[in-house]
């Protein structure tokens, strides 16, 4: 039981600058897409036309929606390009399989089962690795969502062009899937992801690592004992040590994070209102 304020806190890098910037654009575009798209999906709700008019009417909201879509597609492509570069150029196959990979592995099932047992007091907390099972779900949900929502969105963006190749009823399906999958994504990110990543008591009000890129050594050891032990044993902690986040980064992160959480939760409230009214 040491008093942490008296020892020098060591900070370990978790996300590099590019990842954080990409996540920033991901947040911006996702919030933008959700805010400009939900009024259409819930067009019967009294708030829908208010929100649509706040974006300057449905045509202007539609233009913004496409603009945010371009940003999100760019984020996605940049991310995929960075992954490919790591695999092909750096021969970093560890991201494809293994403890630090975000690809689901058998141990994730075991972790999940143990996590549930921990919830009910029947097992110790799992020794999570670099990415926990719920983080992997978050990540692949976005991948899946990009394919489904992005693909259907592009179909609907250029219907005359795609009608050269596909029958018109595919637009019916694309329109339905675009909206339902968007509802899933919005509902998931603004409730489950917010809770898992930020709002649960241990993290409340938010986990700053996505804004600062670093995590304290103690937090890493507590949160991801599997990763911490692996890094410590192989002597990889020291290369990852970083400066403490600046007060400026901290403030900006809090501001951006709070804004995102407020906007997201507001949208959730509006959606719930539209669903139950």
């Amino acid at each position: 039981m040491s008093a942490p304020t008296e020892v020098a806190v060591r900070w370990v890098r978790r996300f590099d600058r590019a990842d954080r910037i990409l996540h920033g654009f991901l947040m911006l575009s996702f919030l933008g897409l959700a805010s400009t798209g939900m009024p259409l999906l819930f067009s019967h709700a009294p708030w829908a036309s208010v929100v649509a008019r706040a974006f300057g009417g449905f045509e202007s909201a539609g233009t913004l929606h496409r603009l945010f879509a371009i940003i999100l597609i760019a984020v996605f492509l940049t991310h995929v390009w960075r992954l490919l570069r790591r695999v092909v150029m750096d021969k970093d196959y560890g991201i494809l399989w293994g403890p630090s990979s975000i690809v689901p592995q058998p141990r994730d099932l075991a972790d999940m089962a143990q996590h549930f047992l921990w919830f009910i007091g029947r097992a110790p907390r799992p020794g999570f690795e670099r990415f926990s099972y719920w983080e992997k779900f978050d990540y692949w949900a976005v991948f899946w969502g990009m394919a489904i929502i992005g693909g259907s969105g592009i179909l609907l963006w250029f219907p005359q062009f795609f009608a050269r190749f596909i029958p018109g009823w595919m637009f019916n399906v694309a329109f339905l899937v675009h909206g339902e999958e968007a509802l899933l994504a919005v509902g998931f990110i603004f409730t489950i992801h917010f809770f898992n990543g930020h709002l649960r008591p241990e993290k409340f009000p938010m986990d700053m690592v996505i804004f600062t890129g670093v995590v304290s050594e103690a937090e890493l050891a507590h949160e991801r004992p599997g990763e911490y032990e692996r890094l410590r044993r192989s002597g990889q902690i020291e290369p990852l040590l970083a400066d403490a986040p600046s007060a400026r980064a901290w403030t900006i992160g809090r501001l951006v994070g709070t804004t995102a959480i407020v906007v997201g939760l507001s949208l959730v409230l509006l959606i719930v209102y539209a669903l139950v009214m």
Partner: protein, 447 residues
């Protein structure tokens, strides 16, 4: 001397038939001899005015009985004698006469109008005991009646709406009579009402143009000009081109077959609150009107981009009439219909340039609940439903359990030991970043 002969003949004829038909008063006035022959003591107007000119003239109960000579003389009846209408005072009456006089019978002269009136809803209401239903004088006035061509007349075209509104815009009266109290205000704000009141258009219709003047019937009465079956003809009096189109369409055809469940003009345009058909608000609201009969079609429409954007209050996408037409609506099986298969490329192409045969296979009314009609959409919808339900159920449970666990961990920690100092940069201690301190194992035993 022709007057005298005519008057004499008429009087004799009238008396002989014992009908309440009097000699034309003007003729009588011009022939005092004949008048005297008919009624020895008929008082002249001047005699009546001795009392009735007095501004304070009133009945015992205080109701005034003043007849202002200037007003009466200027009225269309100004050339008549008082006793031409108040016939029971024409003979052998001592003055002052009793308060209770016989009711003036306008039919004496205006038999045709009164005959129509008697069939109408106002007279029927009076007959069944309503004292407030309109009688002749309620619309035309009494001693001040002006011809309807006179702009001061209560029955002048531009004044009729105000005249009818005296009763039909009176909340107490309409409530008591059990009739709509909204028609007057609705009409005043309608395109017709504004054309009359703001633009002073005498060609714009007023109440009597649709309802009739004397033979007014309720809308459910098949004789009524505003009964569903008759509305297209009534509106077609002015809107002839539209009525022709309407009658050629499916709604008009069904209506003509006697199916009064079919819509007529007022079903979509409303009866009194008719708005400009080119206003965005009206064009959007009429979608709901289509939905009163075609509820399933509007429901599936609302599932599409067209339906959602119009629902948001924007008009730049297709509403019902943009594809189906407005008055000349025809079923898709009719090759003239804009939604007939042969014309879809043209119809969709009006908004979607370069729309091709593939493009028009889009179903603007696809029903995601219809497994046989739109199977791919149906299974896509079911899959998405299951996916959403599955994800939110699983993570809802996950989150709930996790939350309660962390709450318990926190409580136990507060109870057993000091709170670990938060780890934040600059060690300010202000931020609540919840670092774990060195107690890696604290939660394992926290329960």
């Amino acid at each position: 001397m022709g007057h005298r002969v005519v008057a004499y003949a008429v009087v004799v004829w009238a008396l002989a038939l014992a009908l309440p038909v009097r000699a034309l008063p003007s003729t009588a006035a011009a022939a005092p001899g004949a008048a005297q022959a008919a009624a020895q003591a008929a008082p002249a107007n001047a005699d009546c005015l001795i009392c009735h000119e007095d501004a304070s003239a009133a009945r015992a109960d205080g109701r005034p009985v003043v007849v202002t000579p200037g007003v009466f003389e200027k009225s269309i009846h100004g050339i008549l004698s008082c006793v031409d209408c108040h016939t029971d005072l024409a003979t052998n009456v001592e003055f002052p006469h009793p308060e209770k006089l016989a009711r003036v019978d306008c039919a004496t002269c205006h038999s045709e109008a009164v005959e129509k009136y008697r069939e109408g809803v106002h007279a029927q209401a009076r007959a069944s005991g309503s004292a407030s239903a309109a009688a002749c004088v309620d619309c035309h006035g009494m001693h001040d009646i002006l011809p309807s061509s006179d702009s001061q007349s209560s029955t002048y075209h531009l004044n009729i709406a105000a005249t009818c509104s005296r009763c039909h815009g009176d909340p107490a009266l309409t409530t008591q009579a059990g009739i709509s109290g909204e028609v007057a205000a609705a009409f005043a704000d309608s395109i017709h009402g504004r054309a009359l009141s703001r633009s002073g258009l005498t060609v714009a219709p007023t109440c009597s143009d649709c309802h009739g003047a004397h033979d007014v019937f309720g809308p459910d009465d098949p004789r009524s000009r505003v009964s569903t079956a008759h509305v297209p003809t009534t509106c077609g009096t002015c809107h002839e081109g539209i009525a022709t189109k309407f009658n050629a369409g499916i709604h008009g055809a069904v209506l003509a077959k006697g199916n009064t469940g079919a819509p007529a003009c007022q079903t979509c345009h409303t009866a009194h609150a008719i708005q400009r058909a080119d206003s965005t608000a009206w064009q959007l609201s009429v979608i709901g009107q289509c939905g009163t009969c075609h509820a399933d079609r509007v429901a599936t429409f609302r599932d599409t981009f067209h339906g959602q954007v119009t629902n948001l209050g924007f008009r730049t996408v297709a509403g019902c009439a943009d594809c189906h037409g407005a008055h000349e609506i025809l079923p898709a099986s009719d090759p003239r219909s804009p939604i007939s298969p042969g014309r879809l490329v043209e119809t969709c192409g009006r908004c979607h340039q370069r729309a091709n045969e593939n493009f028009v296979k889009f179903d603007p009314h696809a029903d995601k609940h219809d497994r046989t009609g739109s199977p791919v959409l149906y299974y896509a919808a079911r899959t998405m439903q299951l996916l959403l339900a599955g994800v939110f159920t699983f993570f809802g449970l996950h989150t709930t359990l996790w939350f309660s666990k962390e709450i318990r961990v926190r409580r136990a920690r507060r109870a057993t030991g000091p709170r670990p100092a938060p780890v934040v940069p600059q060690v300010t201690g202000e931020e609540s970043g919840e670092a774990a301190g060195a107690e890696e194992a604290r939660d394992e035993r926290a329960d």
